[in-house]
């Protein structure tokens, strides 16, 4: 027998181990589901980790109200397919309740407001662990994030005071009111995620494949021309052949010019790409330490 494990099997095994640790160590975990490929892979890993039992925690979707409609219909189908429960936290509601204030101007995004709704939702349902699909290769502040990331009672991250993580021993002990963010696919790269989707034959939202769409360009990034995204008079709408490399809120999801219409095409495209997937994310461009600041405040 060949005792070599492929990198994808090894990563899968590590992630399933972490998902099971979470189910064992926490009273009320939840899986943060964004509709992006990373959280889709997480959902499938959770399904495998506990099969044939049901996934022992609900999915939580923070809906900015500015989601692509494809994301929402995919979400609903997937939840049904996996027999998972879903809880939706609404940014729209947070704004209506005065808990969050809508940004103004053309670069307004609800990305930052999500943090308020996320923390409120975790608090409302008394979740003590929130599973996220963040990866360490995404961004340099994330390279130092732990698998089990401790958050104080304000939901904040202190990068200088992280618990050491040794071997595969994870310490999820916490004081009342504190919680953990947990990142089972920390060690996966963008390429690993795509290869896994190919290997496991995981269906994806159509947004990831090439399609014709009305788009406009701002600061070198292509955005969808949809009502959720106000345009300046000078920003001309054109029809282009595009796809999403990451999927988030409409206001911060940059589109890539692409003709890729299969996972194999996408892998080829990424293998030859010279820009990171977050290169198209408006939220990271605000300052050099943008991600670090958002994380400290309690972002995903």
């Amino acid at each position: 027998m060949n005792y070599k494990l492929t990198h994808l099997k090894e990563l899968e095994s590590e992630s399933i181990y972490i998902l099971r640790e979470v189910a064992a160590q926490f009273e009320k975990p939840a899986l943060l589901f964004s509709g992006g490929k990373d959280s889709i892979v997480m959902a499938y890993l959770a399904y495998k980790a506990f099969y044939p039992a049901a996934i022992p925690f609900p999915f939580v979707h923070i809906d900015t109200g500015h989601n692509f409609s494809e994301t929402l219909s995919y979400r609903n189908e997937l939840v049904q397919l996996l027999g998972a429960q879903i809880i939706v936290g609404s940014v729209e509601e947070s704004i209506a309740q005065g808990r969050a204030v809508e940004e103004k101007g053309f670069s307004a995004s609800r990305n930052k407001l999500q943090t308020v709704t996320l923390l409120d939702t975790l608090d409302k349902y008394k979740f003590d662990a929130a599973l996220g699909g963040a990866r360490r290769d995404e961004e340099k502040a994330r390279a130092k994030e732990r698998f089990f990331s401790h958050r104080d009672e304000f939901g904040q991250w202190d990068p200088k005071n992280q618990r050491p993580e040794l071997w595969n021993i994870f310490n999820g002990k916490k004081q009342v009111g504190e919680h953990f963010r947990i990142f089972p696919i920390s060690n996966w790269t963008e390429m690993d995620v795509w290869q896994y989707i190919l290997q496991e034959n995981i269906p994806l939202p159509s947004l990831y494949y090439t399609h014709e769409r009305e788009v406009f360009e701002r600061d070198g990034i292509i955005y969808a021309a949809l009502p959720e995204m106000p345009r300046r008079a000078t920003e001309k709408v054109e029809i282009k052949q595009v796809r999403c490399r990451t999927i988030g809120d409409i206001t911060c999801t940059g589109l890539t010019l692409s003709t890729a219409n299969s996972i194999a095409d996408i892998i080829d495209e990424i293998a030859t790409s010279r820009v990171t997937e977050r290169g198209g994310r408006a939220d990271d461009k605000r300052s050099e330490a943008a991600m670090e600041d958002r994380k400290k405040a309690g972002y995903f």
Binding site: K4, A24, L81, A143, E292
Partner: protein, 468 residues
Amino acid sequence: MIDKNKIDETSINSPLGVRGSSNQKLQNESNSNSPLGAGGYLDMELLRFSTAGSVDDGKSTLIGRLLYDSKSIFEDQLQAVKDASKRISGNEEVNLALLTDGLRAEREQGITIDVAYRYFATPKRKFIIADTPGHIEYTRNMVTGASTADVAIILIDARNGIIEQSKRHSYIASLLQIPNVVVAVNKMDLVAFSNEVFTKIIDEYKQISKILKLKNVIFIPISALNGDNVVDASINTPWYNGPTLLQLLETLPVRKDENNLPARLPVQFVIRPYSDKFHDYRGYAGRISGGTFRVGDEITVLPSKTQSKIIAIDEGTKSLEEAFTPQSVTIRLADNIDISRGDLIVKTTEPQPTVNANVSLMVCWLNHRPLNEGGKYIIRHATEETKAIIKAVHYKVNINTLGNIIDDKNVKMNDIAHISIKTLKPLKYDSYSDNRVTGSLVLIDENTFETVGAGMIVHDLEDDSFVI
């Protein structure tokens, strides 16, 4: 594919297969003529290595060089580094070290303050780098980074030779039992690529590696700044015929011995679906932490010593005949016995672990609050959690001189000491030199719940592997 696999004799298809049909096409195209061979890429091996070096050893530059020369850096990342280099130094030269300094405080102070993980791949392997800072106050980070590594890269500045810090890094590689140590003699450009300098360092280092019983030590002369012998062979070292650093990393064995160890499965979670379809299903989920398990194997559950036989090994929605380290699986047994999280499943016919509440260990202290001799701590060992009292501190290790300290038993942050503990529930353990999972544990503060100590179990004071 998920939909084709049966979970047990009931042959129930997973519902995931229902939507799979439209993607079938993609699966078949996976061996298309991708420039990097997407098909071939699906079965690479994963190698984890750690790097240790001080602020000036060029560690960040080396990692930046590996990422840059293996074409793992994207344009937007490079642009951000170019901008930052210009802002900090005022000139156009790209500072590759900035690729790895993540947090704002680090960029401002020009130091690395925590373990950072980096990823890159070549057509042969995928790599995970645990990048750890090397100053004396960060021993705990080096220990953390080394705990999962297959290879440790120790950087030595060719101009300075072996210094106290080199010994410290080597001691940690030895303590954490890293199977391979690569001594990268850096800044060879600053000693005119002298073979004599390189050979002298090898001779000196061999004395240390002998004392520390380091397993597989390999020396490479490099210049991280210029790229000599990092990815491509250097024309400046015609006297060196060995591999470049990357060639070495692509060929060193990955965890070759783990599957020859006695089989161990720490039970993580008991899977009981309570559904009509899987009414009697009871599976013990965990990650195999040594050896292999087969359907039909006679097993013993510890600490109860109850015996049974494996009737199925499930992995996700598939059933396997055999599973090995480090697969996450679910094992089903012939008998309905009481098993819960924290128990250890082993093969009845193989060497058994020790079951004992008195445990002797080397500990690296991780917290600013010193170890409290006589104090109680929470212990996490494999999937078990219990409490322990610190019975005795035997000695501390001076990791700069590699000698023992017996007159000062105050164990502070970054200290390494030999201690004895007594646990509330007996632990089921192997020595760390035999098994990195069942031989390691962490100590957790009862009040703050912080992870305060990292322990490597030794069988007794005379354990050869740890005596210097």
